[in-house]
């Protein structure tokens, strides 16, 4: 019942053949499939990780650009404000100067007008006085006395009557 014969060799050979066949037919395809699948899963995960990193990088870049743009816009607004204020100031100063100048011109004109009016009035007063005086003293007073009287009258006019015009 338990004799050992050449069957033992045949069985070893049989089993080795079976292992070779199984390896080729069943084990290798399944193992390869499992390997491929785990490779694929790993690749997918790696790729997802890489994509996530790239997305984060892009987001950071966008944020930087956005803050840069904000800064630049603020700078432009500040500059514009500054320019506007400078222009406003210079315009105000220019206007002041203009007003000053106009005031001076007006004062000079007023002065001229007054001098002119004064001169005219003086000459008319002289001629009127002469006419009046001539009529009054035409009979007895000579020319010398006449001139002296007129001059005295005019001097008195100058000092008293037109004092407030000066």
């Amino acid at each position: 019942m338990i004799e050992i014969n050449a069957t033992i060799l045949a069985q070893i050979l049989n089993f080795l053949i079976l292992v070779v066949i199984l390896r080729a037919v069943a084990y290798k395809p399944v193992a390869r499939l499992l390997q491929q699948r785990s490779d694929k899963i790993r690749d997918t995960l790696d790729k997802a990780e890489a994509d996530r990193k790239a997305a984060e990088q892009t987001l950071a870049q966008y944020k930087n650009q956005l803050s840069d743009a904000h800064k630049k816009a603020q700078e432009i607004v500040d500059k514009a404000n500054l320019t506007a204020r400078q222009e406003h100031d210079s315009a105000v100063a220019e206007t002041r100067r203009e007003i000053e100048r106009m005031k001076l011109t007006a004062q000079a004109e007023i002065e001229n007008e007054r001098n002119r009016a004064f001169d005219e009035m003086k000459s008319q007063i002289i001629s009127l006085s002469l006419a009046a005086a001539g009529k009054i003293v035409s009979k007895n007073i000579d020319t010398k006395e006449n001139d002296k009287l007129v001059n005295e009258f005019i001097a008195g006019l100058n000092k008293n009557m037109f004092a407030d015009l000066k």
């Binding site: 069957t7 045949a10 089993f15 199984l22 037919v25 069943a26 084990y27 499939l33």
Partner: protein, 224 residues
Amino acid sequence: MHEIGVRETVNFLGLTFNIETLKMTWLAMGIVILVACLATRNLKAVPQGWQNFVEMIILWLHDQIDAMMGRRGRMLAPFIVGLFMFLLASNLIGLVPLMASPTNDLNTTLGLALLVVVIVHCLGLYFKGGHYIAHFFQPTPVFVVINMIEEIAKPITLAFRLFGNILAGEILIIVLLKLMPIWMPIPSVAWLAFSIFISCVQAVIFTMLSMAYLANAVKEDHAE
């Protein structure tokens, strides 16, 4: 009903072969290959049906191998999966009436056990060289005797455990059928059911012990 213990033999090239054992072995091999082909015929990246089952077995086996043997063990995976499937088919075939297990012949079990032991020693020498021989003389040279007995006992226990279980199961099936009247099938049915369980357990035990022996030779030693 064949007579227990008498084997039909043929002579071929001056060698004697147990022809029934050989026929049953080829049948078991055919069944294993057929099942493997059917299960892996239509592999897809997204598994369906039987493929789930096959993948589950192979992944479980890979886990076991990685845990017991480390990375070098992967190359032995086809051997181990083949061993398990062949033993399972061989053990179960004997429960079919008019058939016998290839494993009820000591030639089969001792052949497999010797094959395992030879592989163990070859791989041990290949991977560890001098260390492998040296470890038989640990912790003192006297222990070489005990270690030798252990190494010789390994294939013998492997072979006789399987052989005894299967042969006893088949003998008891025959005995029960002869002993019991035809209207009383309960004992033989119960024993048949238990034999199915025994067949699976013995296949697992043989495979697991082989893995343990192989692991000894293959795995990296962190201590050295």
